[in-house]
Symmetry: C2
Subunit: 325 residues, 2 copies
Amino acid sequence: MTKLTIQQIADIAGVNKATVSRVLNGNMNVSQKTQEKVEKVIREHNYVPNTIARGLAFNKTFTMGFCHDYTDKRAFANPFFYKMLQGIENVVYRNDYLFLMMSHPTGQQKKSMFERMVSEQRVDGIILPSTLLNDSSFQLLTANRMPFVVLGEKEFAHRNVHWVDVDNVQAAESLTERLIGLGHRRIWIFADRASIERDKFIQDRIAGYSNVMAGHGLPSFVVSRLESLLTKESGINDNSLLPDAVICCTHDQLFSILDEEKKEGSPAEFELATFDDNPLFQYLSKTVHYISIDLEQMGEQAATLLFKKINQEEDIPDMIRIPTS
Amino acid sequence: MTKLTIQQIADIAGVNKATVSRVLNGNMNVSQKTQEKVEKVIREHNYVPNTIARGLAFNKTFTMGFCHDYTDKRAFANPFFYKMLQGIENVVYRNDYLFLMMSHPTGQQKKSMFERMVSEQRVDGIILPSTLLNDSSFQLLTANRMPFVVLGEKEFAHRNVHWVDVDNVQAAESLTERLIGLGHRRIWIFADRASIERDKFIQDRIAGYSNVMAGHGLPSFVVSRLESLLTKESGINDNSLLPDAVICCTHDQLFSILDEEKKEGSPAEFELATFDDNPLFQYLSKTVHYISIDLEQMGEQAATLLFKKINQEEDIPDMIRIPTS
DNA sequence: GTGAAAGCGCTAACAC
DNA sequence: GTGTTAGCGCTTTCAC
């Protein structure tokens, strides 16, 4: 049994292939009787139309792509990343599209799958993480008139680029409120100096933290040196001068504190908090407070936005912020 | 600048589109002069042929797919998984194919992307993990004459299925040799009862371990209860009756031992060993010996095998075993 | 060596 | 309501 074509179905049903096409596409100009007859044949023969040919006729692929860089292991290690993919798929489904993933490894001489997919027009639109948006990928996308949506922090400034990102200010606010609610008063925030200047999301997190601290009449402390957090090296013995809780802006920082504690042998006397969950947390001796981000919603928003671009709708928001909980 | 077609290139170059096609496909029936002229136009206009149309003419997609189940987070959490994808891409490249990934989540009512990709013939072949091969996926693949290769342990017995797997016997042998080389003599192997009976890869690992132990005149101990490994509950105080090294057949078991040690507060006095690396290992207080598997090679082998099937070559091996180091 | 024309499987504009 | 035909962008006979 070789793959059936629309012509064969038409022959079996004793109609023209155009009629079969009409049935397939829910065109109303078909009599009840013919429709049922054709549907019966389709069902009995398990006929599935060839989307390649369909795409050629429509000049569409009915496919949405997601691009990742698998040299960036962090994303994949995060199980919530899959929640986001799930969110995208939900929306892709509703639009009867296919969803596929492709790679765009950094630092390769040959064309990445991303570059090929875009230049060969194998997808109607692409979702990509902000880490992959740079001059060259932007050029490629626009030169090929490929609609795209970016996930993550907005580093690459350009008009006509659409973003979906987490609301980091709000996230930091909620997290700080939570720690205060737990009775903490000497809450510090830990971020490295370079990223404070460079990364918008770090600045947002610090801003959210400061807002809440100020609102409660508490002082803010932004520290960027690991040593200042640890009793021994700071030489401070008076615990009241040290934090009772530390918010780490990134997971790397959180782990650096834990590593240091392990080396010193004695756990510092403060609680830890950070953004987003991590599968490692359950294996740690210390409890880590974190604020979780609804990545499924983030995926859904990104896909919805991309469909709007694909369908050339008006009034597309430049940026969507996902709240946290 | 809208997307160029072969016809436009032909017009610009002042030749027939068939000639352009011949140039694109390296057909030799083109004069040196014409060829250079056409190539120049192609280069100057950055023309990339539409693979969808190309595929329609060839009745091929020039695309290889990889299917995963993102409800199974283990695979993705393992950074070496990407080494495998890299291996696949290497081979896919050499064959001038595209490579894409799709999902096949378990327990969904609607058709998965995998099911759609297969039934709509969007790929020429598929690589899938053994966890996803079952009666229904097998049916679908064969009904659509879709070539496929399975990665991982051979659970689903069926003629005409091709597998690429790790050589678990050899892996266990190397690991055991290593531990003996480190001076260990009372080496035990830990595997849960159900999987000893059910899983071929566990049986292979135990076999490899037993071979080497026997070869050194040492006794083999296969244990499947956690308690028998831990001093306190076994009530044994004589350390010489307990192991000095334990090989865990799975990472789950390794972590169950670590959890138990943490609860008891005192680390057991034996070393741990297992198969395959894990990003968590560096965060553990205890050193874990492991044997690493060349997943890049595994990916390459799988893709090579799949191309052989796609090209309907003869003499395709049913199964390829990847050695470990 | 090159061009003209048919065809891959499908959709859509136009007849009837 | 249904059939006919042209065409999506490409490859591939088959002429010349």
